[in-house]
């Protein structure tokens, strides 16, 4: 093998790298090549592409829906607030219990850790789950930006209908936060009245005709609501 041109030698190294066969004591050198040598990077990629087809031959296996929900929670916006989403991972497993409890109230009011600038308001996260378990939304209330972010993790509006987001404070009627005509997630500014809610903020999602509820209150099926206690109003 000593008479092989360098490129061939490197190509075997590339293959071993792609297979994960390089020993711990040699991996740093290989990694340095990968950082610095575009030709070597191409060789590794070529092997990865050749070999990945072995993975394509495997019979697909559907993951459980909980994996998707947890994943979405891990990549929700706000990841710049390090630490918060790790805490959200607490509802691994707990989510299953919540379905059993029918009225799922999974609430993690999260105050930002001290090192974060104090002008950031807290984020509140909750999950809205229909009693039948066929509809789920992860909701985040950002009191810094006065926005509600929602991501659908299960279910959808029926054909020809849209989703509408509602909110209210204690003892108040539901007020429309906004329409959610399509897409898996939506970002809605909170209406003035809702921003002023202090204490328990209730969020809900209903399905409505295109254009939203004609009555100003939920008119279609309300998939579910969730109460978020301890919401503070800024300043």
């Amino acid at each position: 093998m000593t008479d092989m041109p360098d490129e061939k030698d490197n190509d075997l190294l590339a293959a071993e790298y792609a297979l994960g066969l390089i020993s711990d004591d040699q991996i740093e050198a290989a990694r340095a090549m990968l950082r610095d040598d575009p030709a070597f990077a191409r060789q590794v990629t070529a092997w990865e592409m050749r070999l990945a087809d072995l993975g394509e031959t495997l019979e697909p296996v559907q993951p459980s829906p909980a994996v998707k929900r947890e994943l979405i929670a891990r990549i929700l916006p706000g990841t710049q607030h390090a630490g918060i989403w790790q805490r959200l991972a607490l509802w691994r497993g707990a989510a299953v219990l919540a379905v059993l409890a029918l009225v799922a109230v999974l609430i993690f009011p999260v105050s930002l850790p001290d090192p974060v600038p104090t002008d950031d308001g807290p984020l509140y996260s909750a999950e809205i789950v229909s009693a039948e378990g066929d509809f789920r939304v992860v909701a985040v209330v950002d009191t810094d930006r006065d926005e509600v972010l929602m991501t659908l993790t299960e279910g959808a509006a029926p054909e020809g209908r849209i989703l509408q987001v509602w909110a209210h404070g204690p003892g108040e009627p539901a007020e429309s936060v906004g329409l959610w005509p399509d897409g898996n997630s939506v970002r809605l500014p909170m209406p003035e009245n809702i921003r002023r809610v202090s204490g328990v903020l209730t969020l809900g999602v209903s399905e409505e005709p295109p254009g939203g509820s004609p009555t100003g209150s939920p008119s279609g099926r309300v998939f579910g609501t969730v109460d978020i206690p301890g919401v503070r109003v800024d300043g």
């Binding site: 190509d11 075997l12 293959a15 071993e16 790298y17 792609a18 297979l19 994960g20 066969l21 711990d24 991996i27 740093e28 990694r31 990968l34 950082r35 610095d36 040598d37 575009p38 030709a39 990077a41 191409r42 590794v44 990629t45 070529a46 990865e48 592409m49 050749r50 070999l51 990945a52 087809d53 072995l54 993975g55 394509e56 031959t57 495997l58 019979e59 697909p60 296996v61 559907q62 993951p63 459980s64 994996v67 998707k68 947890e70 994943l71 979405i72 891990r74 990549i75 929700l76 916006p77 991501t151 897409g183 898996n184 997630s185």
Partner: protein
């Protein structure tokens, strides 16, 4: 399975931070990636955890996908496989496998080269079958089951250096077969 172009589009949008596109990518590819993780880890719950970690890496590195010169599915499978193998080896290996986050841009492949690489990839199965049986099995074991030289030497009951020589010869033959 979605087409190459659809996956390219979803990955490109995910790279710009489009979560809907990322969720679409997950829906289109997760059953495949779970199969890859399950093959390595042999345990459903570990495999689902590894797959979820893989998608977090995919989300965080989606903007780097283009520079690696991969096709979308091979890039996703590579990340899922490496993540699963890291988990498999967590007790013996401290160095994580590559997730492409630090890799230099590959030499630019022309569309023609990419097409060749794509058709090459489809031949891997046929070419592995052409190899001597043990060598083909060793390469499959290394790739699909995450076996090390040591594992393979034990499995085939040969000295470590013999295994290394076998596998390297197998790889050379594989490359020659695939470039025919």
């Amino acid at each position: 399975m979605s087409s190459h172009e659809e996956l390219e589009d979803l990955l490109a949008r995910a790279g710009l931070g489009d979560r809907d596109a990322f969720i679409g990518l997950y829906d289109a590819t997760s059953a495949k990636l779970l199969a890859v993780c399950l093959r390595v880890l042999k345990n459903r719950s570990s495999a689902e955890d590894a797959m979820q970690d893989a998608y977090v890496k995919i989300w965080n590195n989606a903007d780097r996908y283009a520079v690696t010169g991969h096709s979308p599915m091979t890039w996703l499978i590579t990340i899922a496989r490496n993540t699963a193998i890291d988990r498999l080896r967590a007790r013996r290996r401290t160095e994580p496998l590559d997730t492409h986050s630090e890799r230099i841009a590959a030499d630019t492949a022309t569309p023609e080269q990419s097409a060749i690489a794509g058709s090459e990839a489809r031949r891997v199965m046929a070419c592995l079958d052409e190899l001597e049986e043990d060598r083909g099995a060793a390469i499959r074991g290394a790739y699909l089951d995450g076996k090390t030289y040591k594992d393979l030497a034990e499995q085939f009951d040969v000295p470590l250096n013999t295994m290394r020589t076998w596998l390297r010869r197998g790889l050379i033959a594989l490359r020659e077969c695939m470039s025919r």
